[in-house]
Symmetry: C2
Subunit: 216 residues, 2 copies
DNA sequence: CAGTTCACCGATAGTACTATCGTTGAGCTG
DNA sequence: CAGCTCAACGATAGTACTATCGGTGAACTG
C-alpha cells in the first residue's frame, strides 16, 4: 500500500497539483482548444465536480499556472542578465541572455503560445497575464539601463521601454519560428537577435559620444 | 423607396457584405469573445439561420475576412517598400515602410489582435491565416534582398527570413504598445524600429566589405 | 470513540451556441 | 402569367460545457 498514510491536507494538495499538471499536459498536447473542466478532471483522475473544490473556474486555474510559469521565467532571466552584465565583454554571456528565454519558451510550447494569445486578449480573466508581461518588460528595462543604455531623460526611458518590448517580441518570434520548424538551429536565431540588439547599442554609444563631446 | 429594384443576385451580395461588416464591427468593438452566428446575423439585420446561406460556419467567415484584409495589407506594404527602394537615401521613405503597416494595424485594432491570435493557434480553421503570414514574410524577404541584404548562400537566406520575421514581430509589438496606450507617439516607435533594422544593415555591410576584401 | 469536518462524488439544472429542416414569398424565366 | 428558383425565415434538435447541490465516508478532534 504505497499510497497510505497521507494526511487530508496532503491529499488535497496532491489533487490540486494533479489538476494543474493535467491542464498543462492537455495544453502542451492540444492547446487550449481541448481544455474544459471535465477534461482536466478526468485526466487528473477525479470527478468533474471536484475541479470546483480547487479552482473557482478555468480562468482561475490558468491564472495559477501563469503566475507560476511567469515567476520562474522572470527569475531565470534576471539572473542570466545579471551574469552577462558582470562580464560585459563575454559574448557567450550575452548570447545566453537570448538563449535561456528561448529554451524556456520551447520547454512548454503550447503553454507559451497560450500565454502569448492571452496577452493579446483583453478581459478580466487575462489581465494577470498582461500584468506579468508588463512586470517582466519593466525588469528588462532596468537591466538594459544597468547595462549602460541611456535612461536619463523621459524620452530615453520611453525609448528603452520600446526596445525592451521589441526584444521580447523578437525573441518570441524566433521561438515560434523554431516551433514551426522554420529555424532548426537555435544558434542562428541567437545570432540574429544579437545583431538586432547591436543596432541599438551602436545608436546608444553614438548618442553617448555626442553628449560627452558636447559636455567637454 | 430607395431600396427597390435590386436583383436577387445584388440583394444576396448585399446581405453577405452586411454579415461581413457586422462581424468586423463586433470584432473591432469586443474582439472575438462576443462573436457568434446569431450575434452577427442580428447586427446584419437577418435571421440567425440566414448566416448559413452565406457561410459554411464562423471559421468560413473569418477566413474570408482575413483573406481580404491580408491581401490589402500585403499590396500596400509591397508598394511602400518599392518606393523606398527606389530612393535608398531618403530616410522618410524608409520610415514610411514602418509607419504604413503600423497605421494599417491600428485601423482595425481588434481584427489585428484576432489575426495575431489566430496565427498562434494551430488548427485547420486558422491555417489560412498562417499561410498568409508566411506569404507576407516571404515578400518581405524578397524586398530585403532587393534592397541589398545578402541572400547569396542558404545560410544568408535563412538569416534573411529570420530578419523579416523579426521585423514583422517588432512592428506588431509597437502596434500593440500603441493600442495599450504605452507609446502615444508613433514617430518614436518608428525611430526604434529603424534603429533595430540598422543593426542588421551595418552587420550586412561589414560582411559585404569582408567578402569584397577577400575577393580582391 | 463519538462527533465534526470536508474532499470528493453523481446527478442535474442551466446556458449558449451550432447547424439543419421544411416553409414562404419575392424575383426570375420562357 | 404559370411554373420555377432560392434567399430568407421560424422552429428546433443536438452539442458541449459550466457550476451547483445534497449525500457519503474517511480523516481529524477532543
Amino acid at each position: 500500500m504505497p499510497e497510505m498514510a497521507v494526511s487530508r491536507r496532503e491529499a488535497k494538495d496532491l489533487t490540486r497539483r494533479r489538476l494543474l499538471s493535467a491542464a498543462l499536459s492537455i495544453i502542451d498536447a492540444e492547446g487550449d482548444a481541448g481544455l474544459s473542466t471535465g477534461r482536466v478532471a478526468r485526466e487528473a483522475g477525479v470527478a468533474q465536480a471536484t475541479f470546483y473544490v480547487h479552482f473557482r473556474n478555468m480562468d482561475d486555474l490558468l491564472r495559477t499556472l501563469g503566475e507560476e510559469a511567469g515567476r520562474q521565467l522572470d527569475t531565470a532571466l534576471r539572473e542570466v542578465r545579471r551574469t552577462s552584465r558582470a562580464a560585459p565583454d563575454d559574448p557567450e554571456k550575452l548570447r545566453a541572455t537570448f538563449r535561456v528565454p528561448l529554451e524556456r519558451m520551447l520547454a512548454h510550447p503550447e503553454l507559451f503560445r497560450l500565454f502569448q494569445r492571452m496577452r493579446l486578449t483583453r478581459s478580466s480573466a487575462t489581465a494577470p497575464v498582461a500584468e506579468h508581461a508588463a512586470r517582466n518588460r519593466s525588469h528588462l528595462v532596468d537591466d538594459l539601463a544597468a547595462a549602460g543604455f541611456p535612461h536619463g531623460t523621459a524620452r530615453a526611458r520611453r525609448r528603452l521601454e520600446m526596445i525592451a518590448d521589441g526584444l521580447i517580441a523578437l525573441t518570441e518570434s524566433m521561438a515560434v519560428g523554431h516551433l514551426e520548424g522554420r529555424y532548426t538551429d537555435l544558434d542562428e536565431t541567437v545570432d540574429v537577435l544579437v545583431a538586432f540588439l547591436h543596432g541599438h547599442r551602436t545608436a546608444a554609444r553614438r548618442a553617448a559620444d555626442h553628449t560627452g563631446a558636447a559636455a567637454s
